[in-house]
């Protein structure tokens, strides 16, 4: 496959995803969250069907996000790590699925944060001092940013705007130039970006980094976790492809 073919494929996949977004049912299924369990699966405990490795498989139905939030997450992910001449991006890697699943974990509910009051204002050196856990930072931020967009763009939400406009908005929110009700915009943006990066680079069992797309992009060998033969080898690039926690090779 030459690079042009690749580009075409990714573009057509993006078009496919855009279409499927409107088809996603609103049903919220209370289900277990595969991947997020204390005991990580061994090499044989995960069947290929449990982790879809093809981006053309049945689209993932979100459990945490509602339809409007899901549209936002997909649009934002496509801008934060775009599919481009270098290869596939966050959408192809399944990052929205990762985020939806990640938002159902104890971590996202604030299990490792101190979330009790009283809540005092403090300088940025003291970290986020609000009462929202990670999942609500995203939810409140998404709603606030969509509301801001509706006011600025004749009732249109973020996901309904052209890509170039979305990029401009993300730059503004990154710089703290848009006020988002309920959560500081810089806090919201950094969580959105971090979740996207976590999804792009975490082990594929969590729903993102499909086909180890993220690891292959940067040359991370995944969980090989043994470099006894390579620690002093400095003249040649590390030769092996990535391997995932399930033992799959990328």
């Amino acid at each position: 496959m030459n690079p042009e073919d690749k580009q075409e494929t990714y573009e057509s996949r993006r078009a496919f995803f855009k279409k499927t977004l409107t088809l996603i049912p609103l049903t919220v299924v209370a289900s277990q969250v595969p991947g997020f369990v204390d005991a990580a699966p061994g090499p044989s405990s995960q069947s290929p069907s449990a982790t879809p490795h093809s981006t053309t498989a049945q689209p993932y139905a979100p459990v945490f996000f509602n339809e409007l939030e899901w549209a936002f997450v997909n649009a934002a992910c496509a801008r934060l790590i775009p599919s481009d001449a270098l290869g596939p991006g966050a959408i192809e890697a399944g990052v929205p699925e990762f985020i939806d699943r990640h938002m159902q974990t104890g971590y996202a509910a604030g299990d490792i944060w101190y979330l009790q009051g009283p809540f005092h204002e403090a300088g940025p050196e003291f970290g986020y001092q609000g009462k929202l856990p990670p999942r609500d930072i995203l939810r409140v931020g998404i709603s606030a940013l969509d509301n801001w967009c509706k006011g600025q763009y004749a009732g249109k939400r973020f996901s309904e705007l052209p890509g170039s406009e979305q990029e401009a908005i993300l730059k503004k929110i990154e710089a703290g130039e848009i006020k988002t009700e309920g959560v500081p915009s810089k806090v919201f943006f950094s969580h959105l970006l971090n979740e996207t990066l976590y999804g792009f680079f975490s082990d594929p069992q969590y729903g993102g980094n499909k086909d180890m797309i993220g690891w292959k992009l940067v040359g991370y060998p995944g969980v090989r976790a043994d470099f006894m033969d390579w620690v002093e080898q400095t003249s040649k690039p590390y030769p092996l492809p990535p391997v995932s926690m399930s033992g799959r090779r990328g």
Partner: protein, 590 residues
């Protein structure tokens, strides 16, 4: 409240110092109960491959660190501020669970320099008494390097530490640190192999006339059996060291190096999931009667004991002392009182060097605490009067291992997302390494720990409050050292470098990871007016309470604290065994 059967000694916390004291006290025939607030953990089943090699679990969910949800501290920059909770883990990473921070450290295993012990008197003799600013409350350790040498040595033997001696019995050895205190023998294992960034650092350092040597690292460089019969295997450079437990029995930890023996001892009982709330004192507050804790079911229990060892993480020992009324709380206005005094930290800056694709930095390869370091700007090697600051620093190359979830460093000015980020991440991830400045932190009258008047933890206790900020002295030291490191970095002609030296007036940022080397608050000293514990880590006020950890440091030097923490624990244990048990009571008379 249920009352447990009385034991000889109760130990609060099962990290390095708890395990060391449990070993030493059971060796002496004492019945010991250890209370650990977190879960029991061991190499199997907790740190096995590939379960432990999960960046999301280890570095985002912080599975091997303390959750802040129930117990955290509050922080402020100065006495006039309202302190706010440390709500998300950032600047420092306390551990919990059996092994404590000793499971998720990297393994840098330094000894302090001889002149780090008598810091104040050394500066006074070199530069005159007026050289030390009045608000700088630095003190000498009430113990010398020579007294601690056998204990530094023993802890290295227990850890299977890999390194290159620089001085043995006063004689210099090529390739080691020419400025170190004299050792009684070689490290138990030879230094680890070097990765690219370490080799380049050593070469650059030699070109500048400095004296590079391998960082002493508690990461086994070969098969090893420690004095307790515990076996370590050679490090395979897996890249999951800081934040993670070791999958390979290579990184020294209480779990790998001491607990295999303790777990078999009838005199030793480990109770995990046991949150100690306070130390119980008798009516005149001169003697501890035991500790009160919440057991795994949440029921309050009292464990009576003749001897109470506080071996929790550094500042948590201070918290327990303040909550229990052990010693007089420090007052920053008058300088009186001792518990909470001289909280110090570590002055650290990372510099990342970016190269073209011909340079294989491979940051995913991790070598634990190993790397290359220079002491040319530490201890008596520098003229503090000329430089205008107190405290030394080390410069080093280290690579405990990193993956993309832990973050990909990119050249300054690179966008954080979009196609430009993607291109930069691909271009730079494999072709970079980082070097660091790690500097001392002097103690100050207004940097201290006390109980927060507003916030309470989930157990209803006032939280610990930290009052701390960077001072001009540390900012000046950091700027000078970052400049020196940058000279070395530029000599390699990198494509770009990133490093933020501290700026004048810069405040302590609790959100950026800098170091887990939190020190002071229960400092050791030569009299009860200037310190919370005596030279044997025994409380001046409650003589059957001994307080372990870096909370004993009067101020922090340029090195990582664990080597000193381990040596002090063995030194204290020896005094308990050889002096205290024969005649319980104060070991030093004020």
């Amino acid at each position: 409240m249920a009352i447990q059967e009385k034991v000889d000694a109760v130990i609060v916390g099962m990290g390095w110092t708890g395990a060391i004291l449990a070993k030493e006290l059971t060796d002496a025939g004492l019945k010991v109960v250890a209370l650990e607030r977190g879960a029991d953990r061991d190499t199997y089943p907790d740190f096995v491959y590939p379960k432990v090699n999960d960046e999301l679990a280890g570095s985002v969910h912080r599975k091997y660190l303390q959750s802040l949800s129930k117990e955290t501290l509050t922080i402020r920059h100065n006495v006039s501020q309202q302190a706010v909770p440390y709500r998300q883990m950032g600047s420092f990473k306390p551990g919990d669970g059996v092994g404590g921070a000793g499971t998720h450290w990297s393994g840098c295993h330094f000894r302090a320099l001889p002149e780090d012990f008598n810091l104040r008197s050394n500066y006074e003799s070199r530069y005159g008494k007026s050289f030390i600013p009045k608000e700088m409350t630095i003190q000498d350790f009430p113990v010398t390097y020579e007294e601690l040498e056998p204990h530094f040595d023993h802890f290295e033997q227990v850890c299977g530490t890999a390194g290159q001696a620089g001085i043995i019995n006063g004689l210099p050895i090529a390739g080691g640190n020419p400025f170190e205190g004299s050792r009684s023998r070689h490290f138990p294992l030879a230094a680890n192999p070097d990765y690219l960034g370490g080799k380049q650092f050593a070469q650059a350092a030699r070109n500048f006339g400095y004296h590079p040597y391998p960082i002493p690292a508690a990461n086994a460089s070969g098969p090893y059996k420690n004095p307790y019969g515990c076996q370590l295997g050679p490090c395979n450079f897996c890249g999951f060291c800081s934040d993670y437990g070791c999958l390979n029995y290579s990184k020294a930890s209480p779990n790998a190096c001491i607990l295999p023996v303790l777990r078999q001892r009838k005199l030793f009982e480990l109770r995990p999931n046991s949150q100690v709330l306070r130390v119980e004192l008798d009516s005149d507050k001169k003697k501890a009667t035991g500790v009160t804790y919440l057991d795994a079911s949440g029921h309050e229990q009292t464990q009576p004991a003749d001897l109470v060892i506080l071996a929790a993480f550094s500042y948590l020992n201070v918290h327990l002392m303040l909550l229990s009324g052990i010693g007089k709380p420090y007052d920053p206005n008058t300088g009186e009182g001792v518990v909470g005094k001289n909280y110090t930290y570590q002055n650290l800056t990372r510099m990342t060097l970016f190269f073209d694709k011909s340079v294989q930095g491979n940051p995913f390869i991790g070598i634990g605490g190993a790397g290359q370091v220079i002491d040319d700007f530490n201890g008596n090697q520098i003229d503090n009067a000329k430089l205008g600051y107190l405290g030394g620093s080390v410069l080093w190359a280290r690579q405990p291992g990193g993956g993309p979830v832990r973050g990909i460093s990119l050249p300054p000015g690179t966008p954080k997302w979009g196609s430009a980020w993607k291109k930069a991440a691909q271009d730079h991830f494999r072709h970079q390494f980082y070097w660091e400045v790690q500097g001392a932190n002097m103690a100050y009258q207004d940097c201290y720990l006390d109980l927060d008047p507003t916030y309470k933890d989930a157990f209803g206790r006032p939280m610990l409050r930290m009052t701390f900020d960077w001072k001009d002295n540390e900012i000046k030291a950091n700027q000078y050292m970052v400049g020196k490191l940058e000279e070395m970095a530029r000599s390699l002609n990198p494509l770009a470098i990133s490093a933020d030296a501290k700026k004048p007036g810069e405040h302590y940022n609790t959100t950026r990871y800098q170091s887990t080397h939190t020190c002071g608050g229960a400092i050791m000293g030569d009299n009860p007016k200037n310190s919370a514990v005596n030279r044997y880590l025994q409380s001046w006020d409650v003589s059957n309470v001994f307080v372990m950890g870096a909370c004993a440091f009067p101020q922090n030097n340029g090195y990582n604290p664990t080597g000193m923490v381990g040596a002090l624990a063995y030194w204290s244990a020896k005094a308990i065994r050889e002096q205290y048990l024969k005649a319980p009571g104060p070991l030093v008379h004020a």
